[in-house]
């Protein structure tokens, strides 16, 4: 059937123009992201694996045990996760995927940080301005329903293959929940508390930083947790455009029909996901 409206071509020519006219910008973004991922990988891989395992285990313990860290209750609360961290990460190391796991973690951390730099201010904006909310909301809907693979195409187009298109696609894919939850958290701050702030002469900035953001913190942290998990799932897909890490092993497993590889790397991703999720959840609960 003949197309009445050729939307695809219009978008394509738009993207072409963007690529041509701002090539300097794309180059700069590529440089910054590649450099950050590269140096973070180098630093983390330079540290012996057991120190990293110990560090993550301690982090997991403190996140759960809080004030009771030196008491029996603390051990009861934080003990399980700590044990899981030690055994899980050691298993990853023993299977021979330590380097890939670090690469994946780096990609998750960098993408999450970039996503948060955009999503939290956007969420604040959406919560405080109806116009912004009306504009942002459908864009978020679009971003969340669009199949994740679709983001890979323009990402390659702008940044060719490698870690950068992976990070960019991951950022776009994982950003919506943080915007939504930041917006929701701020909108749910009781109006009487805000009114009290106004009555005492608080400026808009003071209301945001002293009342709205602190009260919205648990919801915002839940949003960050979602971003991290989405980033992790996207990083696997991003291996199709050359992002390194456990995802590329999964990808190899599929291509080579190698069950052993696929299972091991898949298990590694699950272990990372559980650790990241439980630790961020414990921090959010505080």
């Amino acid at each position: 059937m003949e197309k009445l409206i050729d939307l695809g071509t219009i978008i394509e020519s738009g993207i072409n123009k963007l690529e041509e006219n701002f090539s300097g910008l794309w180059g700069a973004i590529d440089d910054i992201i590649s450099w950050t991922v590269h140096s973070m990988n180098n630093v983390l891989l330079g540290i012996p694996f057991y120190i990293i395992i110990a560090f993550v285990a301690l982090g997991a313990y403190y996140a759960n045990a809080e004030k009771n860290a030196f008491k029996i209750e603390g051990l009861k609360k934080g003990g399980g996760l700590t044990l899981f961290v030690i055994l899980g990460l050691f298993l990853v190391f023993a299977m021979g995927y330590w380097e890939e796991s670090i690469q994946t973690t780096t990609l998750v951390i960098v993408s999450t940080l970039i996503a948060l730099i955009f999503s939290i201010p956007l969420g604040i904006l959406a919560a405080r301005s109806k116009t912004a909310d009306v504009i942002i909301r459908p864009i978020l809907d679009l971003m969340q329903t669009m199949p994740a693979f679709v983001y890979l195409i323009p990402a390659i187009f702008f940044f060719s293959v490698g870690n950068t298109p992976g990070v960019v696609a991951t950022v776009i894919f994982s950003l919506p929940p943080a915007v939504r939850l930041t917006c929701l958290g701020i909108q749910n701050v009781p109006s009487d508390v805000i009114e009290a702030g106004r009555a005492f002469g608080a400026t808009e900035k003071q209301i945001l930083f002293k009342i709205q953001l602190p009260l919205a913190k648990p919801t915002i942290l839940a949003g960050i947790n979602q971003v991290i998990l989405l980033a992790l799932s996207m990083v696997v897909i991003a291996s199709m455009v050359g992002a390194k890490g456990l995802g590329s092993i999964v990808y190899q497993g599929i291509q080579q029909n190698d069950i052993a590889k696929g299972f091991e790397s898949g298990l590694g991703i699950v272990i990372l996901a559980i650790i990241l999720d439980r630790i961020t959840q414990a921090i959010a609960k505080k």
């Binding site: 009781p190 009487d192 009290a196 702030g197 009555a199 005492f200 002469g201 400026t203 003071q206 602190p214």
Partner: protein, 414 residues
């Protein structure tokens, strides 16, 4: 004395209209068109309708009305949490409605603090940090503001709770924090929006007493919103009664009780429990003849009684502190026994009250005694006057004298 105090807040033709076509609605309102008509024509609601009043320095001015009467909207016009559509609000000499945003922030930060029905405390901060919130907004140093907040917390009786969080406290205590937060700013004006309405009755009464005690020390100008006329009568120096955005009557509790201006006010007043408003001071009669110990012996006392024709007299000591009563029959016995002191006849186990006691407070005291209630000055212990049991019962029951004497006879027969 009241007239010499200077005017702190003056409200002139204050009007607030909710809706999009405010100016159109305002023009209609000026023409004298009714609220309902304006709502039909412009879809605008008149929240506050040309309100005028003056509040004197150090006064507790109560604005009372049922929900939807516009009282909360009105108080929010005073600090412009609600933007008035027309009219003026003078604070001392300057017109708050003309202030720029910056001036308005300054006014809110230094001159008027607000206490809210729902407290409006920050759950993630300790009590001390909450009390210091206004000062923090104002930009005061941490140490200075915490010291002031500490003092304010002591004023409201929350010493020792500084490091607790609001969620750990009862409603009454949370509202004390709300009050401390307002006091810590040391404003000239306190705006209290249904501040005690969310509390249960006993706590509410406690908080009212507390507020009156604080007010007698600090002498702030207080604007207090309530829907409870009993509360209004208890704490208000003057009361404005509001209905449908209009102030129906402004006056003291007594003026409003005795002379309700409209049917609406009258309907309110009829529901008021007079028992809680009429105080010992209004009921007592002055007693000029007293027996003084040790100066007066039995003979002198009997003589005093005979001159004014009574069989019981109050007794005071040489410092005019009230001691009790003596009865004629006891004195006569002492006279026969040739005693020189009346000490043996003195009955000290007698009820006494201060002049601020209400009828409700005093009623329980008269059961099981035949003595009149002695009204005592709080500071000196001096006798101010007496209240007869009959007048107290009349006031409490609003029965006629006949009914009372019937009741008494019946009680005696039993």
């Amino acid at each position: 004395m009241t007239d010499q105090r200077k005017i702190k807040i003056k409200v002139e033709d204050l009007t607030l209209i909710f809706g999009k076509r405010k100016q159109e609605a305002l023009a209609l309102l000026d023409k004298g068109i009714s609220k309902e008509e304006i709502l039909k024509k412009t879809k605008c609601t008149v929240g506050v309708n040309k309100v005028n009043f003056e509040i004197k320095e150090g006064e507790i001015f109560v604005i009372m009305g049922l929900s939807g009467s516009g009282k909360s909207t009105l108080i929010r016009c005073l600090n412009r949490l609600n933007e008035p559509t027309a009219g003026k609000v003078f604070f001392d000499e300057h017109d708050i409605t003309r202030e720029t945003n910056k001036e308005l922030l300054e006014t809110r930060r230094t001159e008027m603090s607000m206490v809210f029905q729902k407290f409006g405390l920050l759950p993630h901060r300790t009590i001390l940090e909450n009390a210091a919130f206004g000062l923090e907004i104002r930009g005061e140093e941490k140490l200075a503001r915490e010291e002031k907040a500490q003092q304010a917390l002591e004023t409201v009786g929350l010493k020792g709770y500084e490091q607790q969080f609001p969620s750990a406290m009862s409603g009454g205590m949370q509202q004390r924090v709300g009050l401390a937060r307002a006091l810590a700013n040391d404003p000239e004006v306190l705006l209290m929006d249904e501040a005690f309405s969310a509390l249960d009755p006993l706590i509410k009464s406690d908080m009212q007493d507390e507020l009156l005690a604080i007010q007698s020390k600090l002498q702030k100008t207080i604007v207090f919103i309530t829907h409870d006329l009993d509360e209004a009568m208890k704490i208000g120096d003057r009361i404005a009664i509001m209905k449908d955005g209009v102030v129906d009557q402004i006056g003291t509790a007594e003026e409003i009780l005795t002379n309700p201006a409209t049917e609406y006010v009258e309907a309110f007043v009829n529901k008021v429990d007079r028992k809680t408003i009429i105080t010992a001071e209004t009921l007592m009669f002055k007693k000029n003849t007293l027996v003084q110990m040790p100066k007066d012996g039995p003979k002198g006392s009997i003589r005093k009684m005979r001159t004014i024709g009574v069989d019981v007299l109050p007794v005071e000591d040489e410092n005019k502190v009230f001691l009790g009563y003596v009865w004629l029959q006891d004195l006569l016995e002492l006279e026969i026994e040739k005693e020189t002191s009346i000490e043996k006849a003195l009955k000290t186990n007698v009820p006494s009250v201060y002049k601020s006691y209400s009828v409700e407070d005093m009623l329980p005291l008269i059961t099981g005694t035949k003595y009149p209630l002695a009204v005592i000055e709080e500071e000196t212990g001096k006798l101010l006057g007496l209240i007869s049991q009959t007048s107290l019962i009349i006031e409490a029951t609003r029965f006629g004298k006949k009914e009372i004497s019937e009741l008494k006879e019946r009680a005696n027969e039993m």
